[in-house]
């Protein structure tokens, strides 16, 4: 499988998905009008990766902003990860939020309540 490396834009985050390392990183802002189109390649790759995942999969989500249109797509990403976890593979999800950003912490908690995978809430200084 090819690595996925997407550069950030003013409306979309950077995505780094390194299959061999079992590492997925999403960083920046996610506010595209059409988020389905943007997240489709990632969701499809996660589906493929899920059939032969690495021994440990580490996911770092470090978003500055995301719109409600992205929130459903991010949930789709988590659902693919949940399936990997369900099959008995080790999975770590780190949800990063800035110190004073209660909305982002709460958003992470919302996902945690929906998805059956342990989240680590990672506070970072601005």
């Amino acid at each position: 499988m090819e690595k996925i490396l997407i550069e950030p834009t003013p409306k979309t985050p950077s995505i780094n998905f390194d299959f061999n390392q079992g590492l997925l990183e999403i960083k920046g802002r996610s506010i595209p009008e059409n988020s389905i189109e943007f997240y489709k390649p990632l969701v499809e790759s996660l589906e493929k990766y899920g059939s032969t995942p690495g021994p440990t999969t580490t996911v770092n989500i470090h978003l500055e902003y995301f719109n409600t249109s992205s929130s459903k797509c991010i949930l789709d990403v988590f659902k693919k990860l949940e399936a990997i976890h369900k099959n008995g593979n080790r999975l770590v999800i780190n949800w990063y939020y800035e110190q004073d950003d209660e909305d982002m912490l709460e958003a992470g908690e919302d996902y945690q309540a929906i998805i059956n995978v342990p989240f680590k809430m990672m506070q970072v200084e601005e």
């Binding site: 506010i31 059409n34 389905i36 929130s71 950003d101 909305d103 929906i114």
Partner: protein, 179 residues
């Protein structure tokens, strides 16, 4: 006409309008507007917390307008494709005001959704958001009915809106959000 422009200016000045636009809402326009607003928030030296909240709510309000333009089946040159929005700051609060035409047959559905959101407490809103996120259907472009819930949650305020009848086909929907 020359007389009217001062009237516009004066009203905008008194409401401390930072930015306003009337016309077709495109993706490129939203990109520019958000960049302008980001640097304005930077210049006003808002704390990061306020800046993020205003930016977030602004994105939802503007993208609501954008998706609305997209969903409603309208002729390109039709005046009903146009929308208006204004962003102002009075005292320490930001105001985002949007207005757009809506077909009369859709008024009931939208007003029902907004009434439902306004009837909920903050805790109930949180639960409702999670429920719609987990189970809700998503439209082809990604609008999933979460926008208004998110706005109500992030501002901690009731949604202030109005439907003004225009003719037998259209009403004008306005929304005034205080952050």
């Amino acid at each position: 006409m020359m007389l009217d422009i001062y009237d516009f200016y004066d009203k905008m000045e008194r409401n401390n309008i930072l930015l306003s636009f009337k016309g077709d809402i495109t993706s490129e326009l939203l990109t520019s507007i958000l960049q302008i607003m980001e640097s304005k928030l930077e210049n006003l030296q808002e704390e990061p917390k306020v800046k993020k909240k205003v930016y977030n709510v602004l994105v939802e309000c503007l993208q609501n307008l954008y998706h609305h333009m997209d969903e409603v089946d309208m002729v390109k040159s039709d005046k009903t494709r146009s929308a208006i929005f204004m962003i102002g700051k009075l005292e320490s609060r930001y105001n985002v005001i949007t207005g757009n035409y809506i077909r009369k047959e859709n008024v009931e559905l939208l007003s029902g959704r907004l009434e439902k959101i306004n009837a909920l407490t903050q805790d109930q809103l949180k639960e409702y958001y999670k429920k719609v996120l987990a189970n809700g259907e998503m439209s082809a472009k990604g609008g999933g009915g979460l926008g208004m819930i998110d706005i109500a949650r992030k501002t901690g305020q009731k949604l202030n809106y109005n439907f003004m009848p225009i003719d037998d086909q259209y009403a004008f929907f306005s929304l005034n959000i205080k952050i």
